[in-house]
Symmetry: C2
Subunit: 381 residues, 2 copies
Amino acid sequence: MLEARPHEPASLSDASSVNRDDVESRLDPITGNWTIFAPHRGQRPEEFVPPKDFVGKQIRCPFCPGNESETPPPVWVGRVVEDDSSHDVLDPSSFQSAKNDWSVRVVPNKFPAVGDASPRSHHAPKPPREASLFTRRPLTGGHEVIIESRSHATSLSQLDVAEIQLAFLAFRDRIRYWRGVPGIAYVTAFKNAGARAGASLRHTHSQLIATDRVPSAVASMIDRMIRHRVSSGCCLLCDLVRAELKARQRVVWRDKSLIAYCPFASHLPMLVRVTTLEHQACYEDLDDLMIESAARLVRRVVAWLEKIRPGTAYNFCLHTRPPGTQDPPDSFHWSIDIFPRITQIAGFEWGSHCMINPVLPEIAASKFRACAREEDPRRLR
Amino acid sequence: MLEARPHEPASLSDASSVNRDDVESRLDPITGNWTIFAPHRGQRPEEFVPPKDFVGKQIRCPFCPGNESETPPPVWVGRVVEDDSSHDVLDPSSFQSAKNDWSVRVVPNKFPAVGDASPRSHHAPKPPREASLFTRRPLTGGHEVIIESRSHATSLSQLDVAEIQLAFLAFRDRIRYWRGVPGIAYVTAFKNAGARAGASLRHTHSQLIATDRVPSAVASMIDRMIRHRVSSGCCLLCDLVRAELKARQRVVWRDKSLIAYCPFASHLPMLVRVTTLEHQACYEDLDDLMIESAARLVRRVVAWLEKIRPGTAYNFCLHTRPPGTQDPPDSFHWSIDIFPRITQIAGFEWGSHCMINPVLPEIAASKFRACAREEDPRRLR
């Protein structure tokens, strides 16, 4: 049994010998996909050394103070009150006159991945255009950028706690806004940090996309969660969290209200999932205190990750119940997945859609726990 | 309508202005997934310049002549006959005595992603180990490396036609071998060229993976193909090829027997699919002549790709009917997808499993056609 393994490699690639018996596949009960775990693959000879990050060009950063005119006007503005690290959410329309006085601001993406569906839009959604084998549809919704700091910081771990808390409150407010827009079926927030994670700009920012359709893979996850809820009477993620706490192999952190753990069948190496111990379908229904705690925990996870892999590119994805979901028994449960970009998706994964993960989540969790133990207590503010 | 668009951008990123109306999503009838096309996203400011390739380390190349002892003994050996560019397939067991006399050789991967299921293995497959939420299974099968040349070439386009033809015959012979091994349910061949495509070594090589289970995404594609076959009486890929030939928007190349085209709902930019015009479920059932033609065409597609994006990393994936498939009406149809690694999979794609493609396949196909027109006729041998 895997749990009985005595060794814990000191780095990602130092298993003691090539052992084909260590290959196993694990089922992700939420996605229904199997992940192949092949820890010895980290021992392969490697002719390529990845650059620390891609080369940077000199550009005028559109997210820095003074360059606000390079982005569309904000739809959300927050300001940290210096004296007591509390914060105000400002009226974005009145904010125009004092452009420069912000800590976190949210602006429409100038290069959106979806057509415009905001109430201000003049474009009525086009009717579907169908053909037997060539089915195409317009896609409408919103695409926003959450600029998380005035400073040209490049990672969440460099933010003040007050800044990241404001950014996480911005996610909540903007998700609430979009779930109220007629026709919006899906909303997600995510972060691309570093070129290898898909970022095109360095200044720390996240994004939100709202669309008029639930992506098919998300719909099929929700189907699985509904089936579990109906058959067992419990939320699948609540059950998983309880099982992880009992197994004590993959839990990174827990407190009274939150848990961070490395899921049993992670499709990506070193992935950490953060969620509430108590059932909660929608991130945007969390209260201020819980959102601020989640923001602090995500910042710490990123700091641990950067301690293990300095300068790593990473993403996070926020999953909340899609507004277009029909799940009467309240089967969904919000979560945030944080993961570094270590491996490249290669030909096998593209062809089979089956991921090969060289890092067991048990090993990943033990590394994160070691970082948590060594943490500077001042960061826990 | 998209087809009526008068302009064709001269590069991947020069649409004339940001136009949110150009966003549309398209359904891939084989996978059932929607891809978002957002051509204007190529105009985003870009602070990162990707390196030409990752930095190279000096290692003793295990695939070069003279270093054969660094790989396990070959399971397949082919030799180009210099005089007439014909080739011999040698008996790998008798080959041991004259190790150095090979053009293409296939060896077991020293760092396999699957446990051993070859008849030579002493390990009987373990029984499934199940737990309610933590389901794990051993994964057995084979993982082989096809070393495509004696020379330390780094891309298919640098190979002699005779070499790539031998490599493609090796795929056929090894897929045939694995589909005969009891318990093998899925076989695929693929190539990772360049670090961004997931390669760890430069010397030109492909890989083959055989497993005792059909990956769930592949099973669901096959379900869709079976449903189409049952409802329409035709193979879905045959129908798609006919529709592409009729639409004349996305076809890159065709001759009497083969077609290369950019699929309507490509999940990745600049992807080219190669297949036979005539229905054929299994790549490994093609005759020598057809395999040699397919090899030549894939080599040309890679050369076109490298003309458009010099030095690009790329993958290909070979899809053939999985031996474990129950498709009585013969619904599957083999194909090879070739694609450069242009975009990074970012947070939105990881969270939603919905891909954003900045390059319309109509644009991609026109670029490939332009390369085909300018091609050196000597390469068409």
